[in-house]
């Protein structure tokens, strides 16, 4: 069993490396095929200035050579220097800004998971009654309203609240303390929370009517124990399944929220780099996020085995 597990992990990690290499290669060639290049600016450059810049960034090499050099640097974990943030290493950018996105993302996922499980269980218990209807209506809203609307509205709400209170109860934007995180994290986690609520509700409903719950009841198991041991633990499985990829999506997909709430996260770099055709930052963030996503999927698959012993890691 133990050896099988180690072998499984090795295999998955190896597959992961191949996946990341594929992402890097596809991104590299796609990016270089977009018309325009990162050096283009409002001010046209003399051939001399352009040549100097190309030499500085190695753009004077044939494309395939650039690719090989890039892969070589990537293998050593060096993403190069940014084209727009001209004297910052892409590694520094990721190191400084990913923790911000991750902190926000983790909080958002916790909000989402906690809320999703709680609301989901509640709606299942109150099936087809008022609380169920109200929550499910909110869930539909949460899923369908895009985050830039929610973000802008909640920020406006905060301003109104603070103006009414006559002082700053919660910060409107910025980063630095826990209070700065609460609103953006809620906004960021909202659609995931809504999605998880629906998932939790349906799987909870299945479990509530199942044979083993009835058996446990007839044996006289205390209902609190039935809820936590039999119902919740079984119902939560699908939630865990989607949580892994969701963590990756949330910790990386906060561009809009980061922009609206002036948060110095990596999501902004990810999007702005594409607009600026900042080759090194595009490659750095894409490869980093790709690796992160692959890693999270592996972690979830492993967790799955622990939660449900029937799942064999092969």
């Amino acid at each position: 069993m133990r050896r099988g597990m180690a072998w499984y992990v090795c295999k998955r990690l190896l597959q992961g490396v191949v996946t990341v290499w594929f992402i890097a290669t596809a991104t590299f060639f796609a990016m270089h095929n977009v018309p325009g290049d990162p050096l283009l600016n409002d001010r046209a450059m003399t051939p001399a200035i352009r040549a100097n810049l190309e030499a500085r960034y190695g753009l004077d090499q044939p494309l395939f050579n650039q690719y090989l050099i890039y892969l070589g640097n990537l293998a050593q974990g060096d993403f190069g220097i940014s084209f727009t943030q001209e004297n910052r290493q892409v590694n520094d950018i990721i190191r400084e800004h990913f923790p911000v996105s991750a902190t926000l993302g983790i909080l958002a996922v916790l909000f989402a998971a906690a809320g999703g499980v709680l609301w989901g269980a509640l709606t299942a218990l109150y099936r087809n009654r008022m609380p169920d209807y109200v929550i499910m209506f909110l869930v539909i809203l949460g899923i369908s309203v895009p985050s830039f609307v929610v973000a802008a509205l909640s920020q406006l709400g905060l301003v109104t609240l603070n103006n009414l209170a006559g002082r700053s109860l919660l910060p409107v934007a910025g980063w630095g303390s826990v209070f700065h995180m609460l609103t953006p994290a809620l906004v960021l986690g909202l659609s995931t929370m809504a999605y998880l609520t629906r998932l939790m509700r349906s799987s909870m409903l299945e479990i509530i009517d199942s044979d083993f719950v009835r058996t446990a009841k007839s044996k006289g198991v205390p209902p609190a124990l039935i809820f936590s041991r039999h119902q919740l633990r079984n119902a939560i499985l699908p939630v865990v399944t989607v949580l892994g990829p969701q963590i990756a999506v949330i910790t990386t997909g906060g561009f809009v929220v980061e922009l609206v709430f002036a948060i110095p996260g990596l999501g902004r770099f990810f999007v702005e780099a594409v607009q600026q055709l900042d080759y090194t930052v595009i490659m750095g963030t894409t490869v980093f996020y790709g690796a992160f996503l692959v890693f999270m999927v592996i972690v979830v698959d492993l967790l799955y085995g622990f939660i449900d012993p029937r799942v064999r890691l092969q």
């Binding site: 977009v34 018309p35 325009g36 990162p38 050096l39 600016n41 409002d42 046209a44 003399t46 001399a48 200035i49 040549a51 100097n52 810049l53 030499a55 940014s82 727009t84 943030q85 001209e86 004297n87 910052r88 400084e96 800004h97 923790p99 911000v100 902190t103 909080l107 499980v117 269980a121 218990l125 109150y126 920020q155 905060l158 301003v159 700053s168 409107v172 934007a173 910025g174 980063w175 630095g176 303390s177 826990v178 700065h180 995180m181 609460l182 509530i208 205390p222 209902p223 609190a224 039935i226 936590s228 919740l232 922009l259 609206v260 709430f261 002036a262 948060i263 110095p264 770099f269 607009q275």
Partner: protein
């Protein structure tokens, strides 16, 4: 059977809710501890009179505080507050002494006498050697400065930048610590205006060597000599500028601390911060003006310096190469209607000339001295010219016109407006080609357009920053307009020492651009903005930094 939940199930649920609440509280607390190191907890709000501090927001993170290589307005803003060149600007945009206390510009060169009391933030004096080092570095091909061209008037600069000469041959030398001698490649009467630009700022060589290639990358990777010191810079999040106690003058830098508390491009977000009393000023876009008036804010306006126009393609094979066709385009549209009916931006001005109204002439504003020919909106005449063009080109009917534009909201509105106007007035079909910024530039360089929606902003405060745009050798002349007459005029404008004659050359350039319809002027861009009433002396500028707090002060008494 579970339609009625049992009571005990509720206690279980309550238990779960309790876990969730406590769990989340613990996590939030832990995250709070972790976050304190990654941002800045801004306190004090927009105006903190007690500590003589203000908080502001920047639109974008300065990508580049290595001023030998910086090109963007955000970096220029930060550098304007923390650095000083030979000359600088006063609060009315007139040139005043900076590190140089006096200067002289001759036909073949210039001399700057540096003041004794200009100091770096490490206490060392700012010397002529610091300028020599900085300027040589800019031209060094290894530095790869995108703005190296702005120094090409200095002798041998271009050759050094091409790699043909060693950097030591640059026409600048230090005579002792306090005299800087500059030799020109050709007469450059506007050189005083150039040296106010960041590319010409000094660098302390010993300090530069100590940064190990990270010059300008962090707050401690720069030495400062301006009215403010940058004491903290958390990338993409915040900055702190503190008044420089060693700054030589007392004419700027009145507020003790300027906190850049927020960096976001989202204009709504900045408005919300302003409404919440967290930042001292913010930009207003048209949708916000209604609310601003309801709140009885004092709305200010200023020009941002940029002129927008339709640039026409003169390359062979484009219908826009035909003069009558271009005349038709010019006559068939009305920039007044465009600005006031389509854009609805009260801070924008309909453009009539290549030169914006704030450009200075010999004595007064250039526009006062040399008013442009007023625009004529005349559809009937436009159609006559179009008919002439059709015959000259030997066409049955005109092919669809390729109209290139940015995918920005403003670019889209502009393209769609002109598409409608030219369809209505001239019966022309415009095919709009919307591209992201860099791709629009790539297409412009390749000449893949008939008409392109574009703009031009100033580098320095002289008419030449617009005036040489359509010379045949200017690479920004992306429509490839060529005229020996224009080239001759630009040469005069570049080197004529007599200011009156020089301005006359600009006036002729202005007329020639209109006569040949090199561009169809659209608008001069401006800002609408609102400032906290307690903050006085705040400026938005057309040249150099976007916002200027160096002349600002706090007036506690001013009512809200």
């Amino acid at each position: 059977m579970n339609a009625q939940p049992s009571r005990t199930n509720f206690s279980a649920l309550r238990q779960l809710a309790l876990y969730v609440v406590f769990g989340l509280a613990a996590v939030v607390w832990l995250l709070g501890l972790a976050a304190n190191s990654t941002g800045s907890a801004v306190t004090g709000g927009a105006i903190d009179a007690e500590n003589d501090a203000i908080t502001i927001a920047l639109r974008t993170e300065p990508p580049q505080l290595d001023y030998g290589r910086a090109t963007d307005s955000s970096s220029l803003t930060v550098l304007f507050h923390t650095m000083e060149g030979l000359l600088t600007y006063d609060d009315e945009m007139a040139l005043i002494p900076g590190v140089a206390e006096r200067w002289e510009i001759r036909e073949d060169g210039a001399t700057f006498w540096l003041r004794e009391d200009a100091r770096w933030s490490n206490g060392e004096p700012v010397t002529a050697h610091d300028f020599v080092f900085a300027w040589r570095r800019v031209q060094d091909p290894a530095t790869a400065s995108a703005y190296a061209f702005i120094m090409y008037p200095v002798k041998n600069a271009e050759a050094i930048n091409r790699g043909d000469l060693p950097r030591e041959t640059l026409g600048v030398r230090a005579v002792g610590d306090r005299i800087l001698e500059v030799e020109f490649e050709q007469p450059t009467p506007y050189f005083d205006k150039l040296v106010a630009f960041v590319t010409f700022y000094p660098i302390n060589e010993a300090f530069f060597e100590s940064t190990g290639g990270r010059f300008g990358a962090d707050a401690d990777m720069l030495l400062y000599n301006g009215p403010y010191l940058m004491t903290e810079w958390v990338h993409s999040a915040s900055m702190r500028w503190e008044r420089n106690p060693d700054y030589w003058g007392d004419h700027k830098g009145f507020i003790d601390t300027i906190n850049v508390g927020y960096i976001t491009q989202d204009v709504n977000s900045r408005l919300n911060l302003f409404k919440d009393g967290q930042i001292a000023d913010t930009q207003l876009v048209p949708q916000m003006l209604g609310e601003a008036m309801e709140r009885r804010w004092q709305i200010d306006r200023s020009m941002d310096g940029t002129v927008f126009f339709l640039q026409l393609n003169f390359r062979d094979g484009h219908v826009t190469a035909n003069k009558n066709f271009r005349k038709a385009l010019l006559l068939a549209q009305d920039p007044v209607e465009f600005v006031y009916k389509a854009l609805k931006e009260p801070s924008y001005m309909p453009a009539v000339s290549l030169f914006p109204y704030w450009i200075r002439g010999a004595e007064d504003y250039f526009r006062q001295e040399h008013p442009p020919i007023p625009h004529e909106y005349n559809v009937a005449k436009a159609r006559e010219h179009l008919e002439l063009a059709r015959r000259e080109l030997g066409l049955e009917e005109f092919p669809p016109i390729h109209l290139l534009a940015d995918d920005s909201p403003l670019g889209s509105i502009s393209a769609e407006y002109f598409q409608a106007v030219y369809a209505r007035n001239l019966g022309l079909e415009m095919r709009i080609d919307k591209q992201i910024f860099k791709q629009r530039l790539a297409k412009m360089d390749a000449g893949e357009f008939d008409i392109v929606v574009s703009g031009w902003g100033p580098d320095y405060d002289d008419a030449l920053t617009f005036g040489d745009l359509f010379s045949s050798w200017n690479l920004n002349n992306r429509g490839r307009y060529t005229s020996p007459e224009m080239d001759a005029l630009v040469r005069i404008a570049q080197s004529e020492l007599d200011p009156v004659r020089r301005m006359e050359a600009f006036a002729q350039i202005q007329d020639l651009v209109q006569e040949d319809v090199v561009i169809v002027p659209m608008y001069e861009r401006g800002w609408s903005f609102v400032v906290d009433p307690r903050l006085k002396g705040f400026k938005r500028r057309a040249v150099g930094p976007e916002v200027d707090y160096t002349y600002a002060w706090i007036d506690e008494q001013a009512a809200d």
